[in-house]
């Protein structure tokens, strides 16, 4: 059976996804699952994501920026306050330079701008997982 490079580099990791769109969550869940990710929780806003993070301590958090209740930037700030080693990747349609810079300065490990292709998002997230797990 043929294996893609993504398959051969599969690594098991737990993750939570925060996005107010169920459609968007499903899309990124597909990318994460292909990489070996186990989606242990989904949140429709930043506060839910924060609660899940405190409860589940996932290996990876995927955060949207534009969300009700608590936006992605504030959620990122609070997650990093809780755990400075938290691994957060932002996946957002707000991808201007200043936003990317702000997210990285706050502690996000990478940034994927929507719309993305599954291959591109997979490459970015795989790279983050590899670096943060020393693999």
């Amino acid at each position: 059976m043929a294996h893609s490079s993504a398959d051969t580099e599969k690594k098991d990791f737990s993750c939570i996804i925060a996005d107010d769109s169920a459609f968007a969550r499903k899309n990124i869940a597909g990318v994460l699952t292909k990489l070996g990710g186990n989606v242990v929780g989904e949140a429709a806003n930043g506060q839910e994501a924060l609660d899940l993070f405190g409860k589940l301590h996932p290996d990876l958090v995927v955060l949207d920026i534009t969300m009700p209740v608590l936006d992605g930037v504030e959620t990122l700030r609070k997650i990093i306050e809780q755990d400075k080693n938290a691994v957060v990747v932002i996946v957002s349609s707000l991808g201007h330079k200043e936003m990317v810079w702000k997210a990285i300065c706050l502690g996000a490990k990478s940034f994927v701008t929507k719309p993305y292709t599954a291959d591109y998002a997979g490459m970015i997230i795989r790279d983050v997982i590899k670096k943060t797990t020393g693999g």
């Binding site: 769109s21 459609f23 969300m67 009700p68 707000l94 991808g95 201007h96 200043e98 929507k114 719309p115």
Partner: protein, 153 residues
């Protein structure tokens, strides 16, 4: 509507639709509306905040909405349930997010609020008084009008 808003808005909206539908999207004549109402069987609205307040509205007919939902989800969609409409809401989020990001990279300061979708309702009457940019985009799915209200009333 400020002249320097127009090009980034027109270019990014077409690019996002092109990329998400995996189809060649053509652009009709961009028009400036003054006091016109926005009507579509389905309207996705995104509030824009920052340097000036405004709204971005995607309007389309039922059939176009069904075809776009089918294309985005990869499933055959026959009815516009809230779950199916969520794909259109996300499309609105991506178009508005990329549009304001393009403006922000030019030195403006805008953000967006989470989008909302309405079926068979006119856009809020407060919007009618404002100048808007209408960008008609044609694809195999049908026509989507991107209406942007940005600037002083």
């Amino acid at each position: 509507m400020r002249f320097d808003y127009i090009n980034p808005l027109v270019t990014t909206t077409q690019e996002v639709l092109d990329c998400t539908l995996h189809q060649t999207v053509s652009r009709g004549e961009v028009v400036v509306l003054q006091g016109d109402s926005i009507y579509g069987d389905v309207v996705v609205s995104v509030r824009i905040t920052g340097d000036s307040e405004g709204d971005l509205l995607l309007s389309m007919d039922d059939l176009t909405a069904l075809r776009i939902c089918s294309t985005l989800t990869g499933d055959r969609i026959d009815t516009l349930t809230p779950e199916n409409l969520d794909a259109l809401v996300e499309l609105g989020n991506m178009i508005a997010g990329n549009a304001v990001s393009a403006l922000n990279d030019l030195g403006f300061d805008f953000s967006i609020l989470p989008p909302e979708v309405s079926v068979r309702t006119h856009a809020a009457s407060s919007l009618f008084k404002r100048e808007a940019l209408r960008i008609p985009l044609m694809s195999d799915c049908g026509e989507v009008d991107v209406n942007v209200f940005l600037g002083a009333e």
